[in-house]
């Protein structure tokens, strides 16, 4: 629908309103309904038709493109790993004073969390995550994973010495599990025996009995953690596995705190065992948990680890964004990174600076070409346009490697300059593996994106204006500068923003020719995605870059209008 068409319609609508207001009765359309209603209906139908046409593509782009981007950006704040891997420790640290080492209960919570994490083989994952914040945690977690199954062994031995039944998986399971689960589990085992794995399906998930949970909260929790891990990780039955040492630790801790009376009152399965144990625990040899953890790694009795866990215990963190602008989260608040580690602001600056230089070189090189093309007869200009399009259609990788051959020290350009005597053989120009290399290669690659919009704008500038200016006595230069150039500015704007936006996100070319000083922030993002695996930081850097680009896009849309981009 053309603009006049729309004008007609809205004018008609306005007329209708006026008529509506003036006359007593409503103006009627051909079908007898009021004109206002009829027009509104038509407008709605039109809107709907437009949306129906757009909907498939919009949906497509939302699903295949926008959703992935949002999903990735979300990673920049996501930090569930700490609270999911060490849930009990995080809770225990809630009311920690952050002045002295945490109490015994926190070390116990750490034991329960850590043994489960180690059995599920996720403790090292947390180690690498926290190592981004505090160096040395990666190996500390790995080492501790090897030793943690011994924590609480002394208690296990003492309980078993007291009564062999404490070693019996079945006795433990019957004491801890709900009767429903025990029934379901034995039914599952029978099916497995008789009909095989396919018929049996997965094991029923372990459930605690209510009584034991009230009586011995820590033990129940530790045992459930053990039982479910055994089921999910090893596909074994808790009825066939001896509990981890941490469960005995929990039992000891529960029994020394729970009043003797409530143990005596307990009437669930294994009550006698519990009563006997409860009377005996007072004579047990106790273990200093903090010392046990110190044995595994000195780091556990120093402040940094606890401060780091505390600082990153929230499920969402600003830590990655802070790191992306060379700040860090410390116990004393936000601080600058040490001097020698600041890199990202520098890279952002450099990315913007080099993109600007590239954009300006594109204008300088693209303007004359577009001018020439738009002022030549179509036949010639179309042939010359092929020269512009040819590099555009040639693989980016190939062009980049061609620039390598041209620009390097022993390359074609330097060889030619030496041969011509412009440059001494031992003072060849450094044209590659630095900013110069990136700028030359990227200017070449992005030049068509400048020429095409410029050309399409210049084609529409009528030559008569310049001729008129000249006939009025303007010199060649004045006519160009005062009459022609202002009309070509929209083309420069369109081309510049396009080139700038494209170059700010470049990755392949700087990687291949940028060397030490010519790389962009994108290279760092790629590094964090595929090598350091710090995906959160990559996402944070990406979000900042994206925000920058979107701001530019917004500016562009305001200044030029996205509808006015033309490509050839």
């Amino acid at each position: 629908m053309s603009a006049t068409d729309a004008g007609d319609m809205s004018r008609a609508a306005a007329d209708a309103r006026r008529a509506d207001a003036e006359s007593t009765g409503p103006v009627l359309a051909a079908d007898g309904s009021p004109l206002k209603v009829s027009l509104n209906r038509a407008l709605r139908a039109q809107k709907l038709r437009a949306l129906m046409l757009i909907a498939p593509l919009l949906l497509f782009v939302l699903v295949t493109f926008v959703a992935p981007i949002i999903d990735m950006l979300f990673r920049s704040v996501e930090n569930q790993i700490v609270s999911e891997t060490l849930p009990r420790t995080v809770v225990a640290l809630d009311d920690w004073d952050a002045e002295t080492l945490p109490d015994e209960a926190t070390y116990a919570a750490l034991t329960y969390d850590f043994i489960e994490a180690a059995e599920r083989r996720i403790h090292t994952r947390l180690g690498s995550r926290l190592n981004y914040e505090t160096t040395g945690l990666s190996s500390m977690f790995r080492r501790s994973g090897r030793g943690v199954d011994d924590v609480g062994e002394e208690y296990a031995d003492q309980f078993i010495d007291l009564d062999e039944a404490w070693e019996d998986p079945v006795a433990w399971a019957e004491m801890m599990a709900s009767s429903d689960w025990l029934a379901a589990q034995s039914e599952w085992a029978a099916t497995l025996e008789a009909e095989g794995e396919d018929a049996a399906g997965p094991e029923p998930l372990f459930q605690l009995s209510d009584g034991i949970r009230t009586l011995l909260p820590e033990t129940a929790d530790a045992y459930r953690s053990f039982a479910r891990t055994v089921q999910q990780e090893d596909q074994d039955s808790p009825l066939e596995e001896e509990p981890w040492n941490s469960v005995y630790l929990a039992l000891y801790r529960d029994l020394v705190t729970v009043p003797a009376a409530s143990v005596v009152e307990y009437d669930g399965v294994g009550a006698e065992m519990l009563v006997a144990a409860d009377t005996a625990v007072d004579g047990f040899e106790t273990v200093d948990l903090r010392a046990v953890w110190e044995d595994m790694d000195d780091g556990w009795v120093e402040m940094p680890i606890w401060e780091t866990i505390e600082a990153f215990s929230d499920p969402y963190t600003a830590g990655y964004f802070l790191a992306a602008v060379d700040l860090q989260l410390t116990p004393d608040g936000i601080e600058q990174q040490p001097d020698e580690q600041r890199i990202y602001l520098l890279l952002f600056q450099r990315t913007i600076f080099m993109s600007l230089v590239i954009t300006i070189s594109c204008i300088l090189l693209g303007y004359p070409i577009a001018y020439l093309l738009s002022n030549l007869p179509l036949r010639t200009s179309n042939l010359l346009l092929i020269l512009v399009l040819l590099p555009f259609w040639t693989s980016l990788l190939v062009r980049t490697s061609a620039w390598k051959v041209l620009l390097q020290n022993q390359g074609v350009i330097n060889d030619t300059l030496v041969w011509l005597g412009f440059v001494a053989d031992d003072a060849r120009l450094a044209l590659i593996n630095n900013q110069t290399g990136t700028i030359i290669a990227m200017t070449h690659i992005l030049l068509p994106f400048m020429i095409l919009p410029l050309y399409s704008v210049m084609k529409t500038i009528p030559p008569s204006y310049v001729r008129a200016a000249k006939s009025l006595g303007a010199t060649q230069w004045t006519a160009f500068w005062r009459v022609y150039f202002p009309q070509s500015v929209p083309g420069i704007g369109a081309g510049s923003i396009l080139v700038f936006i494209l170059s700010i996100g470049y990755y392949i070319t700087p990687e291949l020719v940028g060397g030490r000083t010519g790389t962009f922030i994108s290279n760092r993002i790629a590094f964090h995605i595929s090598e350091s695996l710090n995906w959160g930081l990559a996402a944070a850097l990406g979000s900042i870059l994206l925000a920058l680009v979107l701001a530019l896009y917004w500016l562009y849309d305001r200044m030029v209008g996205i509808d006015n981009v033309k490509l050839g």
Binding site: L58, L396, L546, V565
Partner: protein, 338 residues
């Protein structure tokens, strides 16, 4: 500036005129130089991107076709394909002759033979170093183009209507694949497609490339629609054509140049795309640019220069064909070639 120097031009004017041409010539040289460099290098007898002393002496020893041989490999059944294609083409020509009395024989046979050659060469083998990526590219790029052109043209028609709610926001979303830095798109798609099981599948790469090509289609097609006269569709409708007929008979032919040019951009986006495919694809979807990238990074092999030379030759051929066709159609329509 005029394209011819007037006879009365002053000296300063002359200097400026020729100086400007020289500058433009240099810029054109800058544009074309890297392409000129790769052609001789692709005949290098050595495995490096270097002009060897033998090459500079123009010693035939320094040149060889080995990188072209490496590019094509010796798998596949090109000759069998050629033969079958030629026979099929001849059969088609015969059928046309019997049915409609048309006596074209050379063209169908040539087209059939060429088609058969390509199919025989590319589909008759597995795991060839360069031919398999070429085949993947030739499968993925057209599919992605088809998707983005069909959906994009529809949407562009919708967008060109006058009353489109949230037009700005919709436009921004549709253009976003061109705006968002590639590395961010690649990473996002990588994580997301992994999660929904599209990572490492043909469809994953096709969908990703289609998304990247959409802005080009939208931009070029909306540009042609700006100049489209709506009264034509109304005329068709008033003469009794239904909307579908109107679209294909009236609107489509008029906006076709925009659609084709958008399609070409979408095609080249997919055909030359390396960042996203490196993340979203896996071994099974290795495309030509991917193979070039690993060729550059992991193996030193000027084979990629041979590949590039072939691609450049094809694009020169295509571009000149398009130009010749354009001139011919202008001549036929009686328009001056300018």
């Amino acid at each position: 500036m005029d394209h011819k120097l007037p006879p009365y031009a002053s000296t300063g004017h002359k200097i400026w005129f020729y100086g400007f041409r020289v500058i433009c010539g240099l810029i054109f040289f800058f544009l074309i130089a890297p392409i000129l460099i790769i052609i001789p290098l692709s005949f290098n007898a050595q495995d490096f991107f270097t002009f060897t002393p033998e090459m500079l002496r123009l010693d035939p020893e320094g040149y060889s076709l080995k990188h072209y041989r490496d590019f094509f490999g010796d798998d596949g059944y090109p000759w069998r394909g050629l033969l079958i294609g030629a026979v099929l083409g001849a059969g088609f020509a015969g059928a046309m002759w019997a049915w409609k009395g048309e006596r074209y024989i050379v063209l169908p046979v040539l087209v059939g033979a060429l088609f058969g050659l390509i199919v025989g060469k590319l589909w008759g083998l597995d795991g060839a170093e360069w031919m398999t990526p070429l085949r993947n590219s030739l499968v993925i790029a057209p599919m992605a183009t088809l998707l983005s052109v069909s959906l994009g043209t529809l949407a562009a028609i919708g967008l060109s209507q006058t009353h489109v709610p949230f037009k700005g926001a919709i436009m921004a979303i549709l253009i976003s694949p061109m705006i968002v830095p590639l590395i961010i798109s690649a990473a996002g798609m990588y994580f997301f497609y992994s999660r929904v099981g599209l990572q490492g599948t043909y469809w994953g790469v096709v969908l990703a490339h289609a998304a990247l090509g959409i802005p080009f289609v939208i931009i070029t097609v909306t540009a042609t629609l700006v100049g489209f006269d709506r009264s034509l569709t109304r005329a068709a409708a008033s003469l009794g054509a239904n909307p579908v007929t109107t679209f294909f008979k009236i609107q489509m032919p008029l906006i076709l140049p925009g659609v084709i040019s958008g399609g070409l951009f979408a095609f080249i986006t997919s055909f030359d795309e390396v960042v996203v495919v490196l993340f979203v694809g896996s071994a099974g979807q290795q495309t030509l640019p991917w193979q070039m990238f690993t060729g550059l990074r992991e193996q030193i092999s000027p084979t990629i220069l041979a590949a590039a030379t072939i691609l450049v030759s094809i694009s020169i051929l295509l571009l000149t064909t398009v130009e010749i066709l354009r001139r011919r159609s202008e001549r036929l329509r009686g328009m001056s070639p300018g």
